[in-house]
Structure formats: C-alpha cells, structure tokens
C-alpha cells in the first residue's frame, strides 16, 4: 500500500473543513487500481501518489480543475467496489458521496473488467447520483481484443459515457468539457428487483423521513443488504420508525433462503450481462501474451522464488552497495570530511569561544557535524535509493504477487499476505510503515504488524550502517539475517497465539505487470523523501542537542555506566554501551556508533555481530515511537517498548552464548 503523505486522517467530518471555495463540485469514485488518481492528476494538475497497487489513496484528496473558469472543485476518493462498505476506504468514499451533495460524480472504471465495474455504476444510479461513466484503461481493453460501444451504454444507462486512457491523457479533454458544460440530471434506477424486494424498498422508503444524501431507494437497498453503518444511521435518525423499518426488512429476509445481499447482487449481475451482450464485442486474442507469461512466472511457487531473490539482490546492489557505500562514502568522507566539517569547526570556534557551546554545533556530536552530517551524508543517499527502488517495484505491480506468495507464512504469524506492504516499506522507513498498518483489516493484524516493524524490521538508514559494518564477512551477514528472520517469525508466532481474534482472510486483486513510468517514480520518491526529512531532520537535531545536554550534565555518563552491565552480560566491551544509549534515540545512530568502535578496532568478530543484532532489535527511533502512539495509543506503544528493549538484550545474550558455544570465529 502506498502512503498518502498528507497527515489528515479519514474522519467523519473531514470533508467539511477541507472545503474548497467552489461553485461546482465533482467527485471521482471507482474501485481500487483503475486510475482514479491519474484522472485526478490530469484534471487538476496536482500530484497524488499513483501506483500499480490496489488501494493507493487512503485519504481524500481535493483539488481544483486546471484552467478553471467555473470554479470546479475535484475530489478524489479511496477505492470502493460497492456502496455496501466492507473496508475503511469504502466507508470514507461513501461518506464523501453522502455528505457532499456533488454536482457530478465521475465513475472511473477499468474497461477490461467492465462487467465487474458496472455493479458500482448501477448502485450510483440507484443512489440518484448525477453520474458520468469514465471507461478508463481503454488501451489495455483494446489490446485484449475488446470493443465497447459507448453509445449503447449511454442510451441504456441514460448517462454520459467517455472512453479514456488517463496515463496518456487520451479522452481527458472530453471529460473536462463534460465537467465544465454538462449539467447532469440523475437518471432513474436502471433495473427492477423481484417483487418482494421492490415492495420492501417502497415500504422502507415511505418510512424514512430524514435525508441521507443518497436516494431513499439506495438507503433501503443498503438496509436490506445489512450494511451496519447505514443501520446505525437509521437507528439514530428515525427513532420512531426504526422498529417498523426493521420489521419490513426482517419480513423480506424471511422470504428468501439466501442473504438479500446475494440475491440483489445476482439480479444486478443479470441486468449487467444483458447490457454487456449488446454493448461489447470480443475478438479472441490467441495465445498467452509475454506479459502474462512473466506475470505467471512471478507467482509460480517454484519460479517465483528465484525471481524474488533476484529482486532482493538488485535491491541490495542498488541500495546496499551503491546507496549505502559508494554514495555515502563520497558524501561522508569527501563532502563532509574534507570540506564541511573542517570549515564548520573553524568558523564555529572562531565565533564561539566556549568549548562547551562549540560542542553543541560541531566536534564529535555537534548539530552540524553529527546531526546534519548523519542526515545528509548517511541517511539521504540510502533512503533515496531505497525509495527509488521501492517505487519501481510498487509500480510494476510486483507487491501483490509477493503478497500472494507469502500469505501462508504470514498466516502463521497472525497476518495475511496484504501485510507484506507495510513490512517491505518498513525496510525503507519503519515510521512510514507503521502509519500504513492502518490499512490492515483487523485490529489484531495492525497490532502484530506494528510490533514486528518496531522489533525486527531494520529500516534502510540502519541497514545501510549495518551492511557497512558487516561488509567483508558473508558469514556474519548470514548470521545476522538468520537471527533477525527467526526473531520475526518467532515473535510473530507467539503474538498470534497470545492475541485472540478473527482469522485473517486473504483476498487481493493482482494487477497486470506494468512498466513503471520514470516521472511517476521520481515524483513519488521525491514526495516520500521530502516527508521523511520533514519528520526526521528535526529529530536528528533534537538528538544532537539531547546528547550534548546529556554529556555536559553528566547524565549520560551515569546511564552509560548502568548500561555497561547488560552490555557486559552479552559479552561486549563497555564502550559499546555508549552506542546503545544513542541507539535509544535512533537505531542507526547507535549502529553508526558501533561503526566508530569497529574502525577504532575496539569491536570485531562475535561481539560485533552480537551488538549489531541487539541494536537492530531496538525500537527504530523516536519518530517511529511517536507514530506508534498515534496509531495504536499510549498503552500499546509503551507496552511494546517495555518488551522490546529487554528482549533485544536477551536475544543478544543468547546469540553470544550460542556462537561462543559453537566456537564460531568471525
């Protein structure tokens, strides 16, 4: 799942306070991964995170129509398959429709899956929305030999229909013209249900007094389909008629053996099938195209593994070697080591006479020489290369394939394949990944994923330093990967046992493999790096100040002394406790501290691996901790920290014991 980087959370009333002054409002709706965000970008000229991954837009995005003469506000909504909501995204999207009273709703649909898409079209018509149907991704449909007659759809549904290829800008002018010119009157409901249901709809509609922002027919249908949120709404708004409505629904329900939801959906399907028969032609395309073959290989239980390993290897080469070594060395040693640091030291010492105050800005732990140097020289290249790689992987559509390959393993640790997104993202930035756990379905999954991210997924900043520390010893790297993997699975397994809850279900649409677009990858990387820096740079500076304050007050010496005990227990020299202390501020800070110890020769072999593992298990950083508080609450965040820090030392102790017992020499 991609992250939408604005900080607003979907809320009941979030739509009202974001109001853009406009005379006309247009809302884009549609299922996930049909290109709504691209259409939005095309219409407004604004950038929304676009990726080849279902469910990119977690939140509502608003903009204004580009070269706008009529003051049109455009709203992009999270993906929804149906007005009947099951996911948080769908509920948010529906609220926009119910609360906004849009002048026009554009249903963006994936043409090649038109049969499935029309279900929402039907529901939007039933809801009385002034609707335009946008048949997007027309190029992919044509490549499959499909020909859609928009005229037939237009006539039978009674609404404007436009064919587009948003990524290439095709058809967008026509859509823009419609938005500017056409005043659309809602057309009537397209189909009639069996008599029993129609009667129930009429009876319910008669008994609804309050206004819901969608037609009473749609409210009645949602009640019959047992939508909890709508039931709650009716309970609140129709206190007197509620019992009557309830009785009508119960009566209708008893007349059928299957849930009404099933019956209603099947009726819609019947209507859509006859419509499609008239509106669509299919030329058979012979054979399986290359793209499809590649797609199948990537999902194959055997062939999928080398493909996965190949991707990991490329990722390592690009992020671990090019980003974390080549680029870091250049920035760290040449740019900072030879130019910035000496110059900063000289300038500061000539302006500020007091050594204590000098240390705040420069020297070993100063804001410039440590805080900013780490941020720019170490973190920037690593994080940037990681996000470039992640954006490419994301846009190709590989992540859902990985999700489906890994689902069985993730089930064992109480998650499902979908959690692969936050986990992979965690290797870039655990803070961002913690925010993305929001998209997981159950609370249990969100808690387990948050815990595992905090404990066993080292972020790219940290990985960079760790890889540099372990460079040269494949054996040490192997031990590190093995221990981290074991901890991830073991703790996940335990957490899943200890936390009762619904078994997660895995279901996911696998989008076609697509070539990533360079411009999209770059914009996305830029947005993410920007977000990262806004979150992280202040914390780096804060950490420098805290370290400075801690040192001059002597507080640090005390803590280091206390820490040297557990440090000693896991077989490490006392100097390592300093690195651990800094590791409390940021894991990579700590790892970088170890780096200095290694260069000075104080740490090597088994103790080095033990200390790396211990620090990698720490909570990543203050930012991640505060995000955990925000997403999971105080109690949970503190509880996790109380588990993680001692647990990290226990694992370090065990690893030390085992490696020494086996006589491993590194």
């Amino acid at each position: 799942m991609t992250v939408n980087l604005s900080r607003k959370r979907p809320q009941c009333h979030s739509t009202a306070d974001m109001e853009i002054d406009a005379r006309r409002s247009v809302v884009l709706v549609g299922s996930p991964n049909v290109g709504k965000s691209v259409v939005f970008g095309n219409l407004t000229g604004m950038y929304v995170t676009v990726s080849n991954y279902p469910g990119t837009t977690v939140e509502i995005t608003r903009g204004r129509l580009a070269d706008d003469s009529r003051a049109v506000a455009i709203t992009d909504t999270p993906g929804m398959y149906s007005l009947l909501s099951i996911t948080e995204e769908e509920r948010v999207a529906r609220r926009v429709l119910m609360e906004n009273r849009p002048d026009m709703v554009v249903h963006v649909a994936d043409t090649k899956n038109i049969e499935r898409m029309l279900h929402l079209t039907v529901q939007l018509l039933e809801a009385g929305m002034p609707l335009v149907l946008d048949l997007n991704l027309m190029d992919e449909a044509e490549r499959l030999g499909m020909r859609v007659d928009t005229k037939v759809l237009k006539e039978r549904l009674g609404i404007p229909v436009v064919a587009t290829v948003a990524t290439k800008g095709m058809g967008m002018d026509e859509l823009k013209k419609m938005i500017l010119k056409e005043d659309i009157l809602p057309s009537g409901p397209p189909l009639r249900y069996p008599e029993t249901i129609e009667n129930a709809i009429a009876d319910i509609a008669k008994n609804l007094d309050s206004s819901y922002g969608i037609s009473k027919r749609a409210v009645a249908l949602l009640l019959l389909q047992d939508d909890h949120e709508i039931w709650q709404m009716v309970r609140d708004r129709e206190p007197e008629r509620y019992a009557l409505v309830d009785a009508i629904v119960k009566h209708a329900r008893e007349r059928f053996a299957d849930p009404l939801n099933y019956i209603i959906t099947i009726e819609r399907q019947r209507f859509i099938n006859t419509l499609i028969e008239d509106a669509m032609d299919n030329d058979q395309v012979k054979g399986i195209p290359f793209r499809e073959r590649l797609s199948r290989l990537s999902m194959h239980p055997v062939a999928g593994v080398p493909i996965f390993l190949g991707i990991i290897y490329l990722l390592y080469e690009f992020v671990g070697v090019f980003g974390a070594q080549t680029a870091v060395d250049f920035l760290e040693e040449t740019v900072f080591g030879q130019y910035i640091n000496p110059v900063a030291n000289r300038i500061v010492s000539s302006i500020i006479p007091w050594k204590v105050l000098q240390d705040l800005f420069v020297n070993e732990y100063g804001i410039i020489t440590l805080g900013i140097r780490y941020a720019i020289a170490i973190i920037l290249p690593i994080v940037t290369t990681f996000f470039i790689a992640f954006s490419i992987i994301e846009d190709t559509g590989y992540l859902p394939r990985l999700a489906m390959l890994i689902d069985r393993v993730f089930k064992k640790i109480g998650l499902n394949g979908r959690a692969v997104i936050p986990v992979v993202l965690g290797f870039g930035c655990d803070t961002m990944a913690t925010m993305v756990t929001r998209t997981l379905e159950t609370r249990r999954e969100r808690v387990i994923a948050t815990l595992l991210l905090a404990l066993a997924i080292p972020c790219s900043a940290q990985m960079g330093v760790i890889l540099a520390l372990l460079s040269g010893s494949t054996k040490a790297l192997g031990i590190f990967v093995m221990v981290m993997g074991t901890v991830f699975l073991f703790v996940g397994f335990l957490a899943a046992r200890l936390m009762p809850g619904e078994r997660p279900l895995f279901y996911m649409e696998v989008p076609p493999l697509r070539w990533p677009k360079l411009s999209n990858v770059l914009t996305k990387t830029y947005t993410r790096v920007e977000w990262y820096f806004k979150e992280v740079l202040p914390l780096f500076i804060l950490a420098s100040i805290l370290i400075w304050a801690g040192r001059i007050t002597g507080l640090f010496d005390l803590v280091i002394k206390v820490l040297s005990y557990p440090t000693g227990w896991i077989g490490l020299p006392p100097e390592a406790s300093k690195a651990f202390l800094y590791g409390f501020f940021r894991r990579d800070f700590g790892a970088a501290g170890l780096y200095d110890l290694k260069t000075s020769g104080a740490l090597s072999g088994v103790p080095l691996v033990v200390s790396i593992i211990t620090i990698a298990l720490f909570m990543p950083c203050i930012a991640q901790f505060s995000m955990t508080i925000k997403e999971r609450g105080w109690k949970m965040a503190v509880g996790m920290a109380a588990f993680i820090f001692p647990f990290a030392f226990v694992v370090g102790y065990l690893v030390n014991l085992i490696l020494n017992g086996l006589g491993v020499v590194l």
Binding site: A141, D258, Y262, Q269, M299, F506, Y507, P511
Partner: protein
C-alpha cells in the same frame, strides 16, 4: 419395509427438533399432529419411535432413518436449486416431491453429481453419506468447491456458500458470482485465478466457499 411419505416427514421434523434444536423432549403438540395419526403407529411399529404418553422419542434405528431422510430432503433441494435452476418459490414444493423419489442408489449419484454439498439452500447442514466420505479422498465430481480444483482447470461458479457475510461480500466484490467463468492459474501457495480480465488471489478459506462446475 419403508415408511410412508407422511411418516418420513414426521421423522424429519423429529430429527430437526432433537438434533438441531436440541429439545430434550418432543410432544405431539410440537409436531402439530394428532395422537391418533396412523403415521405415528406406523413409525412405532417400525420401531423408529417410542411413544411415552404425549412424548415421542426417536430410537437409535429411527435416528439413523431420520438422518437419511433429512439428507434426501436437503439433497433434493440442492438438486432443484442448482441443477434445475427453479425459482425459489417453486423450490420447496418440487423438492418435497423429489425427496421421496431419491432411493439409496439414486441418492448417492445425485449427491456425487452435486459435488457432495455440505449445506442445503437454507444453509442447514446435509448429513454426509458414504459417498461423501469416499469423495473426500477423490474429489472429482461435477460441482465442487474451488478449493478442490487444480491449476489449469476452467470452471464456472455454481453458487457461493452464504453463511459468512464477511466472506460473501468480499467474494462478490471481486466479481465472483454464479455463472461467472473462472480460469484457475494455480492453487499453491495461494489460489490464483483469472476472472474476466483480472487476476485474483485468495486463500483457502475464501476458495472453500465458492462452488464451481467443471467446464469441458
């Protein structure tokens, strides 16, 4: 010797009351029949029931017979629904006629034809027969769960198990609906199939609720 149609229905009712609704004792009133009904005597003579005043009890022999009758009834409903595709309003009536025609041999082949369904259209469980137990080992019937299919097979959805609303809505939102054709790509580590022009991946728990008919 077999019981009459009417007696069989009484047996079924008795079974539902004792087995599914866990009633401790059943009286003639619960069954809304008369104490003097000839069918009661018939059942007593067959040693299917014991009459203790107004209370009626199933004997172990009667229990077996009743379970078999329930099974036939619910299979008949499935047959009428899935194969004959009758309107629901007609289903009840036709199913009642069919159930009495289903004899042992026919019952097994119908059950196999239907893919050893586990629930009737009202979602009440169908007691498994010998053929169902056998079929667990060799699942090769015409209608069976998507979870039992293999990669490369082409199938059409016959019906969805509608017991779990959470699953049902998810399946339907991905376009998995009766009549829709599915190409199965693979079944491990997850079930991956093509539906229309999109590819969908689900786990076993989801696939189990989709019943499909093999094409070709």
């Amino acid at each position: 010797m077999r019981a009459s149609d009417r007696a069989e229905e009484i047996l079924e009712q008795l079974w539902i009351l004792t087995k599914e609704q866990n009633k401790d004792s059943v009286t003639v009133e619960d069954l809304s029949i008369d104490r003097a009904d000839p069918e009661l005597n018939e059942l007593a003579e067959l040693r299917y029931i014991k009459l203790l005043g107004d209370r009626i009890e199933l004997t172990s022999k009667g229990l077996k017979e009743a379970e078999a009758a329930i099974r036939r009834h619910r299979l008949a409903e499935r047959l009428v629904m899935d194969v004959f595709d009758l309107k629901r309003s007609l289903m009840e009536e036709k199913a009642c006629q069919f159930e009495h025609l289903l004899r042992k041999e026919v019952e097994e082949s119908i059950c196999t034809l239907l893919g050893h369904p586990k629930v009737c259209p009202h979602k009440r469980p169908i007691p498994p027969g010998k053929c169902c137990v056998k079929a667990m080992k060799h699942p090769k019937s015409i209608v069976s769960s998507l979870a039992e299919m293999e990669g490369g097979e082409k199938v059409a959805v016959a019906y969805l198990v509608t017991k779990d609303n959470r699953k049902l809505q998810k399946l339907m939102s991905m376009g998995i609906l009766p009549g829709v054709k599915i190409d199965i790509i693979q079944t491990f580590p997850s079930y991956v199939f093509k539906i229309g022009h999109s590819v969908v991946a689900v786990d076993r728990a989801m696939a189990e609720d989709v019943f499909v008919r093999r094409l070709k």
